[in-house]
């Protein structure tokens, strides 16, 4: 049996006034199962701690109950004290007789009775406490970043700058994400490429970063600290080290493909570089559109390439990477615009998406930055921008607000006005969401100085009449229906999780919300971590975000990853679930209960397992276990039952 000592604190008069501390120490001293009991003015003080340590030595105590203030205050103080006296820190229990007793009661006899129950229950718990050490596991000090948009780039650079290796996996032929497609960016209107390309180059040159483009994650095993990730890299058919981006190959390639970079407004060849500043700086052969990789079918490009960079025999490769942490930064895509039939996208070439309009505005775009509409190349004099296309429409489309479209629609209107001085931009909106630094000023300036006409109401339908787009809208502020004959219409399409990220989420066993955005561990306090230990999030994959938000989150994510990678081993609280193999029936109920995926079934023995590193100790599985096989270290069913008995017995 444990040799238990009970120490009762007066906390000056804070406890003593309502709890008869002397009587209590006398009472516990008189109990058979207590070796020593005493009370003292301030147990947390140095002399107070000395008293405890001395008693441990003198009475050979191997368990201590400290009846004092809330454990949130001094639990660690007393744990340290008993550790110094040679005990395991789990051989100490704090009985909270201040916040939950003396401070909330006036009646001294009643307070004393309750304090004795609190201490009594703590004693029962302590009796069955095990000595535990934090669990730990070695760790691979390398991180993987999936997705090379601005968020992924920022995360990778920050982690790599801290001295850790980073492996970046990007599914497209170049990094850069959507930001590289943008013209100028709100709220400062600086050129997107001017601020992004230096970072892309930095990433490519960084000694700590390995970049895999045309690649996707296919599988993951292991857990925090030690993941094994399987990556599949598509054949590029061009050796990036040899290719000197002379573009001779694409000039001879007979195949034209709508350019992804230009959102289908321009063309590329089947052998191409997505955009001139692409990283890696290399051409890529798009096998899906190539006429056939042989001189019989075509073979023009290889014939032309003087650098001999083209290799038709290339094949996809699959490889495994070991990493300690994984960051998802797979960004977003736009909601399928065809879903909004009443706006006539696809039917009317001059109804374009917001990203297409970015390309039209961009100096590197299909029109060289001159605003021209797709149908006839004319300069549009009246442009209607429609906000909330697909967003905030739970009935037909998506219920959430896409957060960035208010701002970029205004930016579009502004940039358009800068380029077409006599042009008139109209914006249909329901609400203007401009809650960022300098955002409101950006909005007001555009309304008052550039005469962007904001109209509060949703557009019902777009017709074409001759070469005009007739926009039927509503001005809910005047209560009048408005009709605008525009030369062009720009749809602020909703932001959705990037296509394919649902599959990635399944592979990574990461949680997503009902719209498919990756779930953070806590919306306020753990916004960059996912629920899965070791899996982190950055950028628009978690929710629609603009660049400032994406970058802030990316750096926050990097910091969290660095915290993880900075230690040799990962430590984890030992207050976790356990399984008694003999009792476990293999029913598997615990597995479905665990929010962290910490439960698994040993298929051979049909006994449930607990992953010590993943388990957070919530106890949900234990309460769910029908056979009592699942228990929690230092909070077993027996411990709880014994505590209950103390309370149920009262002062009988």
């Amino acid at each position: 049996m444990k040799r238990i000592g009970v120490f009762i604190c007066h906390c000056g008069v804070n406890i003593k006034d309502t709890v008869d501390v002397e009587a209590l120490s006398e009472f516990f001293m008189s109990r058979d199962d207590i070796v020593h009991a005493e009370d003292y003015m301030f147990l947390c003080s140095d002399p107070g701690q000395k008293i405890i340590k001395k008693a441990i030595a003198e009475h050979k105590l191997d368990g201590v109950v400290v009846a004092s203030c809330s454990p949130t205050l001094h639990e660690s103080t007393f744990q340290n004290a008993i550790e110094e006296a040679g005990l395991n820190k789990f051989q100490m229990e704090v009985a909270n007789i201040r916040e939950q007793c003396s401070w909330v009661h006036n009646d001294k006899p009643a307070g004393t009775r309750k304090a004795s129950l609190i201490i009594g229950a703590s004693i029962e718990k302590l009796k069955l406490n095990e000595s535990l050490e934090p669990t730990s596991a070695p760790l691979t000090r390398r991180a993987m970043v999936i997705g090379g948009g601005i968020a992924g780039i920022q995360t990778a650079l920050d982690i790599a700058d801290a001295g850790y290796e980073v492996v970046m996996v990007e599914k497209k032929p170049s990094i850069g994400g959507h930001m590289i497609q943008l013209s100028e960016t709100f709220p400062t209107l600086d050129c997107s490429q001017c601020i992004l390309t230096p970072k892309m180059v930095q990433l490519a040159k960084h000694p700590n970063i390995t970049l895999h483009v045309n690649s996707e994650v296919k599988d993951i095993s292991g857990f925090v600290g030690n993941f094994k990730v399987t990556v599949e890299r598509k054949a590029q058919y061009v050796d990036p080290d040899l290719c000197n981006i002379c573009s001779d190959c694409s000039t001879v390639c007979p195949v034209l493909v709508p350019s992804e970079y230009d959102e289908g407004l321009g063309w590329r060849r089947a052998i191409y570089i997505p955009f001139p500043q692409a990283i890696p700086a290399s051409f890529t052969l798009d096998i899906d559109n190539c006429l056939g990789l042989s001189p019989i079918a075509c073979g023009k490009c290889a014939e032309k390439c003087e650098a001999n960079a083209i290799n038709y025999d290339a094949s996809p490769t699959t490889f495994e990477v070991e990493v300690g942490a994984v960051v998802v930064a797979t960004g977003y895509d736009l909601y399928p615009v065809e879903n909004i039939a009443e706006y006539g996208y696809g039917k009317y070439p001059d109804v374009v998406t917001s990203l297409q309009f970015e390309r039209i505005l961009s100096a590197t775009g299909p029109t060289g930055g001159v605003v021209r509409r797709p149908s006839d190349g004319a300069e549009p004099k009246e442009v209607v921008f429609i906000q909330c296309c697909g967003s905030r429409d739970p009935e037909h489309h998506l219920s959430y607000c896409s957060k960035i479209c208010c701002m970029y629609s205004l930016k579009h209107a502004k940039l358009y006005k800068h380029k077409v001085h006599d042009g008139q931009p109209y914006i249909f909106y329901i609400d203007i969401r401009a809650g960022g630094k300098r955002y409101e000023e950006f909005v007001q300036q555009a309304i008052s100085e550039e005469n962007v006409l904001y109209t509060r109401g949703k557009v019902a339908r777009i017709f074409n009449e001759g070469d005009k787009m007739v926009v039927f809208g509503m001005d809910t502020l005047t209560g009048k229906k408005v009709e605008i004959r525009a030369d062009m219409v720009v749809l602020a399409m909703a932001v959705v999780p990037s296509y394919g990220s649902d599959e990635l989420a399944k592979t990574l066993k990461a949680g997503t919300d009902k719209h498919g955005f990756f779930n953070e561990a806590h919306p306020k306090l753990r916004p960059v971590e996912s629920l899965q230990a070791g899996l982190f999030l950055a950028g628009a994959c978690q929710s629609p975000k603009d660049i400032p938000d994406a970058v802030s989150q990316a750096s926050g994510t990097a910091a969290k990853v660095m915290v993880l990678l900075s230690s040799d081993r990962i430590l984890h609280s030992p207050i976790i679930a356990t399984v008694d193999d003999d009792l476990c029936s293999g029913c598997g109920i615990c597995i479905g209960t665990c929010p962290y995926g910490a439960r698994e079934m040993d298929l051979l023995t049909r006994v449930a397992l607990v992953n010590d590193i993943l388990c957070e100790g919530c106890g949900a599985c234990i309460a769910a276990c029908p056979s009592g096989a699942a228990q929690q270290h230092n909070l077993t069913d027996d411990q709880i039952a014994n505590m209950i008995r103390v309370i149920a017995l009262g002062d009988e």
Partner: protein
């Protein structure tokens, strides 16, 4: 295969040409329409008030009788009948209490309402049972060179749940016209309301609608439009009388029931009686295209 069909009140008088042409066309497709017995007016519009069961009774009465006649389906020509019958049926079936009340109320009918009759619009039957390609093969008199717009109006496509095609971008009428050999031009206003019963109390509004709608079709290159609703047909065709008076620039346009064009395409001859029921005489254009 015979198709049991529900005509509705107007097909027996003002829209007789709708019925006659449908019968003629479907006979030629070997799917003759067989009129159900003992039908009554469906009420024409679905009542949206939750507590007004009385206004559903007319529709339900038809369905009970169809059930009693062992019909598992009813083919409807008129958009309004289609909409009203289907919604009434669903509305009553969706709530056991309503069902119970309606059954009690109709105790004189020979069987209680079970809701087993499927209500289908002829257009969807053409699409789903025959198919456009097959239909095209049956055409003996292609409507070549006829540029015609489909007019959907409201009730073929709204509410979404009862729409016979995509409620924002339907193609079913254009597909039919295409199969018949005509050139179908979708025009912007093809889903816009004609003003419906407002034609009684707000005649000028419907005249304005007719002007806008037909101009929209005209601007898209249509020489005529087709509809599947006698109310639309009234507003768009008969109301052209007032439209011409009020808008000197207005260029009248014939309005067909889709079945009239079907009948022609499948080889039936134009019945001069039909012409009498049109306000804008359709014969010149039909003659012009060599169809009569």
């Amino acid at each position: 295969m015979q198709l049991p069909y529900y005509p509705g009140c107007t097909l027996k008088n003002h829209a007789k040409h709708f019925e006659d042409s449908a019968i003629a066309a479907m006979e030629r497709l070997d799917m003759p329409l067989v009129e159900m017995e003992d039908w009554v007016c469906c009420g024409t519009v679905f009542s949206m008030s939750s507590d007004d069961l009385m206004l559903q009774v007319a529709s339900i009465r038809n369905l009970v009788r169809a059930e009693h006649q062992n019909l598992s389906e009813l083919i409807v020509l008129c958009s309004m009948c289609y909409n009203t019958l289907r919604r009434a049926s669903d509305f009553i079936l969706s709530d056991p209490e309503n069902l119970d009340k309606v059954r009690k109320f109709m105790y004189l009918e020979e069987k209680p309402f079970d809701g087993t009759v499927e209500i289908l619009h002829l257009l969807s039957v053409l699409r789903d049972r025959i198919g456009w390609e097959e239909l095209g093969r049956k055409v003996v008199r292609p409507l070549a060179n006829l540029k015609v717009g489909g007019y959907y109006g409201c009730l073929l496509v709204r509410p979404e749940k009862y729409a016979i095609d995509d409620f924002e971008a339907p193609t079913i009428i254009e597909d039919l016209l295409g199969a018949l050999g005509a050139t179908a031009s979708p025009y912007p206003y093809r889903l816009e309301c004609c003003g419906a019963y407002q034609t009684v109390t707000n005649k000028d509004v419907t005249v304005q609608r007719t002007y806008e709608l037909l101009n929209s079709a005209r601007n898209a290159g249509c020489e005529a439009i087709v509809t599947s609703c006698p109310l639309c047909a009234f507003n768009l065709d008969q109301r052209q009388r007032e439209t011409i008076e009020q808008f000197p620039d207005f260029d009248p346009m014939p309005v067909f029931y889709f079945t009239e064009l079907m009948a022609l395409a499948f080889g039936a001859n134009w019945d001069p009686e039909w012409t009498k029921l049109h306000f804008v005489n359709p014969e010149p254009i039909l003659r012009d295209k060599g169809l009569i």
